[in-house]
Assembly symmetry: D2
Homo-oligomer: 180 residues x 4
């Protein structure tokens, strides 16, 4: 079964209320996501960046990466860790969920993806609604708990428990992910 790694909102200016706390929590998650991304690339898995559009539809993902990775930007170290490669796909999302008003579902169906591994920030916001939207659209969903972050660990754990109990989401760590 073909699976895709969705990297949600990790290319980020962290310029909102609570951004500093989220950035601190996002750094260890970013290292785990980078390791997982290498495993996907090594195993011909699909990597899709699903990212907020900070550029008001006047620019593209390349502009967002350049802007957030600039010297002095708070999340520049994460951009360096998670720089997109030539085979990676990306989808700009205008709302919290990667599936709303975006081509994500169509892209995944055309590539015959059936299982999604959803990583990134924030666990109780964009990750949660993207995972739920994926579940409602019939995808198998994993949200490896070491690859997501929220403003507090309590908010992260609450969201993970909810996804597991109410939507059958697999929340084991990224070590449990297998490639056939």
């Amino acid at each position: 079964m073909r699976q895709a790694l969705l990297i949600v909102d990790m290319i980020n200016p962290f310029d909102f209320a609570g951004g500093a706390a989220l950035l601190r929590a996002a750094r260890p998650a970013a290292r785990r996501i980078a390791a997982l991304q290498r495993r996907f690339r090594d195993n011909r898995g699909l990597v899709v960046y699903v990212n907020d559009n900070f550029v008001d539809w006047k620019g593209g993902f390349a502009d967002i990466v350049a802007c957030c990775g600039r010297d002095g930007m708070p999340g520049a170290d994460i951009v360096a860790l998670l720089a997109p490669g030539p085979e990676d796909r990306f989808v700009l999302k205008p709302r919290h969920s990667g599936f709303l008003d975006s081509p994500l579902e169509l892209l995944l169906r055309q590539l015959r993806v059936r299982r999604l591994v959803v990583c990134g920030i924030a666990a109780d916001s964009c990750i949660l609604v993207t995972a739920h939207d994926a579940h409602m659209r019939g995808f198998e969903v994993q949200v490896p708990r070491d690859c997501v972050a929220a403003q507090t660990a309590a908010r992260r754990d609450r969201a993970l428990a909810l996804m597991r109990d109410a939507f059958d989401v697999d929340i084991r760590t990224s070590r449990a992910i297998r490639f056939q």
Copy 2:
């Protein structure tokens, strides 16, 4: 600002795993919803039943109400409490969220509704995703905590806290709802 009361999945056969526990928790919520529904009707508010379609698109909401309200059905007392009236609207939803693959958003926009009061079951499943979808589509959202239920009180409270913290949902009790 025009508001609508969404009554989610209260017309229900309760024939699934965990259905008995959910039914026990749903009964007190049903009484609060019935009182709130009277207030909406008295104040020319809009009431919309947003309900799962158990009839495989071969029947309509009237068939679902008849089936779930039949003598001996576990949730028949709730159907009696929450019987739809001639001015109420209804939308059959094929997935957890009332907004997915349904005319709900269009119906609400045509009626110039801006604020939604989301009630029903289950707090950590259909209520949660419907509330999130409403928030992402720009509606103001209230989920009165005395008008929702889940299989356990802990699951209900976890979902309510998450909606409040991550999506600015107003979770005060139904007594806080005002009509202008």
Copy 3:
């Protein structure tokens, strides 16, 4: 390959500008559709009524059939010809296209339908946009030219030619439809 017959807007009050001309053109099409519907039922094909919702989400398809089939209603003879059976499905559409803000696509995918035979009225309006939406969503589409009608034959033929030339729609008559 599983196919479905979509019967679009034939349950109709014909109470709009141009309704009388459309009704005259719809009658011969209705007889062809009725014959085709029998073939679908005999061959275990799927029949889906895709119909405008004249009841403002306060009623269901049964109410629409009852209302349009009442004695003295202009299209009552068509309702009699095309009365829905117990195995037929129906989807109420709020806009011209059967796919917009409706569960139609999900219903068809769950039933593993790949080919659609789109019939009904009006050829240059609801039929056209429903056929185009089906094509864009990856379905194979047939619009048998003897099973659709428009306010004038010229408008019908213009729409059929456009669908054939620009969207690869098969517009041969209903005799060309095969069941495996």
Copy 4:
């Protein structure tokens, strides 16, 4: 009433069957669109490029413009005429209609756009379905007949007449467009 100019698929490799005929017809339309685009910019109107994504979600609009505008590409002269400016928006569409699986509707609503002027290619394909989708979503729609092209003039005129008769689309030439 705020209006937007949608420029559909004019940034194009013209590498498909019928591409040469479409390119010949697109050139005079491109000059009219360029003039209209200047008027929109001068009048603080909104310009949105709505373009096919030839880059399989591995690149963005900038890559598409660079690729199609390269020396020797058949439509490079059109790219030069219609080069996007810093204030223009763009939306990549994965299907024929600009509204399907894209953020276009949300973008237009956030910018409070009510009227759309749809230009580009092909008149009987992407223009037609984009105009119909806009009409069904409640926008006022103009398709200035001197600013669209199809593989033949007959196919263009057939599509224009259909939009006018069945969907109330204003098909007068671009000279009829007014700015308040």
